[in-house]
Subunit: 382 residues, 2 copies
């Protein structure tokens, strides 16, 4: 194997130049400034040129100001740290704040990493079930019931997690309602804002969250993996506690996390990210228009109505019918879109799929609509 490595040298990304509607990727496209930062700070450990012992203490480049002054204001949190991503932030919060064997109450639409983080931290998970389709809504009142079920079994609720919005339907549960229920039971609320922090105008205080989690590569135009975690003073002092064995280092972060270019891309993109959150209403309006056009073609938007996020889940019986007789079967949609330089719907899906319009110009979205229109009209249905 080690004699034949040339193939790894110059790998090209085959989707470059295409219209990408993958919800995972829309909010992580770098700004031009972040691309410049990437080249400037590419070398391993580059940000540590003037380190004095902790990543978030570095003054040149001004990571300290960014993490300790700018991000707390942006996230409406007392204390902020940089993490390897949203999942790693959720794990840190769970591991630091919950006792072994406690239960985390989470929304039924939570990302799978919420389950993994709880399991890795030695915790159980009790779900607030999502309702039936087409809306798949989570009722805030369900948090009360879930906590009662846990306590009724004689177990302790260590934490509640609300995914805002969830990554399947883009549904937005009223966070204040969840927050009040949690705080009445003295349970801290963690809001997983992987799809909101950096897209929507959100902050821990406005949401009623004790801890807020964000994802740089998902929603802050950053080169991943990278995320943010913000917390109240009280919970922050527990999550970001110092090590006993190495007293000048923060234990839960193993000292330093993002010792590389990723943090520089987050900083370089940040002015544009703050600006785009102020234009969120336009993104929502665009998403609603797009969904309307898709529905005219016979596909059905799932989740909240009116829809409040760029992430959309469609059911499309019409494409499923086509797939039954199409060349390449259920891969026909992927191939037809690829032919038109449109990427982001997973290969093999036709009956239901997710997509996002985020930060795409209307012309591109019109091209996507036209593509679906052409594909549907040019194929016989089964």
């Amino acid at each position: 194997m080690l004699d034949n490595l040339d193939k790894f040298r110059c790998l090209k990304r085959s989707t470059t130049g295409a219209i990408n509607i993958d919800p995972l990727q829309r909010g992580g496209v770098l700004t031009p400034e972040a691309r410049e930062a990437m080249m400037e700070w590419a070398d391993g450990y580059s940000v540590c040129d003037f380190c004095t012992g902790s990543l978030e203490g570095i003054e040149n480049p001004p990571i300290k100001e960014f993490v300790h002054q700018v991000l707390p204001e942006f996230l409406e949190a007392d204390q902020v740290r940089i993490t390897h991503g949203a999942r790693e932030g959720i794990f840190a919060a769970m591991h630091a704040l919950c006792g072994a064997g406690e239960t985390v109450v989470a929304d039924g639409n939570a990302h799978y990493t919420t389950h993994l983080a709880a399991e890795l931290a030695g915790l159980k998970v009790e779900l607030v079930p999502a309702g039936e389709g087409p809306h798949y809504r989570v009722d805030p009142q369900g948090y009360q019931e879930a906590m009662e079920r846990v306590m009724g079994r004689g177990e302790r609720v260590g934490m509640a997690v609300l995914t805002y919005p969830d990554g399947n339907y883009g549904n937005l549960v009223e966070p204040k309602a969840v927050s009040e229920i949690c705080h009445d039971e003295a349970v801290p609320l963690v809001v997983n804002g992987a799809y909101s922090v950096g897209r929507m105008p959100v902050g821990a205080k406005s949401l009623g969250a004790d801890v807020i989690i964000g994802s740089g590569h998902k929603s802050m135009a950053s080169s991943g993996p990278i995320g943010v975690i913000g917390a109240t003073e009280e919970l922050g002092s527990r999550i970001f506690r110092r090590s006993k064995l190495v007293p000048n280092k923060e234990l839960e972060m193993l000292g330093c996390t993002l010792r590389g270019a990723g943090i520089m891309t987050m900083m370089a993109s940040f002015p544009a990210v703050v600006a785009r959150t102020k234009l969120w209403d336009e993104e929502v309006e665009k998403a609603r228009w797009f969904a309307g056009e898709m529905e005219k073609l016979g596909m059905d938007l799932m989740g909240d109505r009116p829809h409040g996020h760029d992430l959309m889940f469609f059911k499309s019986q019409v494409l499923y019918e086509i797939s039954k007789t199409a060349k390449k079967g259920r891969y026909f949609l992927y191939r037809e879109l690829k032919k038109r330089d449109i990427f982001g719907i997973k290969p093999g899906l036709t009956r239901q799929f997710k997509l996002s319009c985020y930060q795409l110009p209307r012309e591109d979205l019109k091209a996507v609509i036209s593509a679906f229109e052409e594909i549907i009209s040019s194929h016989p249905k089964a």
Copy 2:
């Protein structure tokens, strides 16, 4: 704060173009191929274009082949995964393999993150003390004694860690000797190769290690944070076990780790990294020559003699004497080197400091020697 963000847009690295002798940074300088990969794959989550559920399963780009075929051969390990860095790999191994309250036996020169990882995993640490200066050697036999101390207290030894080489003196402890002692007691040996994997020709089997840890940003010409972990089939099946709640995901990695450009830089640099490990003897010879020149100027190399690594620790009474009367006091050395475009010795250090010659051409190293010579001869001693 959020109205004045322009300063974050276009931050430049002020050390660009300088001779950098920081041991942390020498092995992480990107290859030209990795710089290209960086731009090609810069966007958040770029490598997930064709994801089918796990990072290490991605075939386009060929991450699967790299992680499951190429790296195992390189690391002489049955199973390999990508981590966020060496410390995160050590934590994963400790968390997966040790029971709560067990003790980790580690060399007295271990990196501070070994202590942090153990503490975060709920483990105790028993050190094999390093000897006195100037050699600061760790005797393999000390592992036997440390394990006996732990067992004598009625505690269980969950794991042994050997830092190979350590990050202070660049000392290389005979790993086979440590391995035999550990295996006689049925204790798994983790070798922290943050300063060897990607520099020296090392592999888990040759070292007698059950788990081997590497750092991409420290020694594999990768944009950080990124690392590798390799393990035997048996220990790998425990470290990389699947989640119970989300059965298609690996628990300890929270599903996927390096969902970004870093893995692409590691792959792009890898052919050059493999090639450079074959020239390791030349690097050692260069380091010995450099140390000899420094000693002629009155500075003393600490650690192994003859020295076996590019990372070197010097004591320099002469520079300390100068600092007592120099303008700017103990910062004079940093400033004098900076004037000559040489970076990498921490500001304020004179009496002792670390540096590395790794991958620097002789001409640059001669410039460094000349700089020290000039600085010493042009300053009065106290």
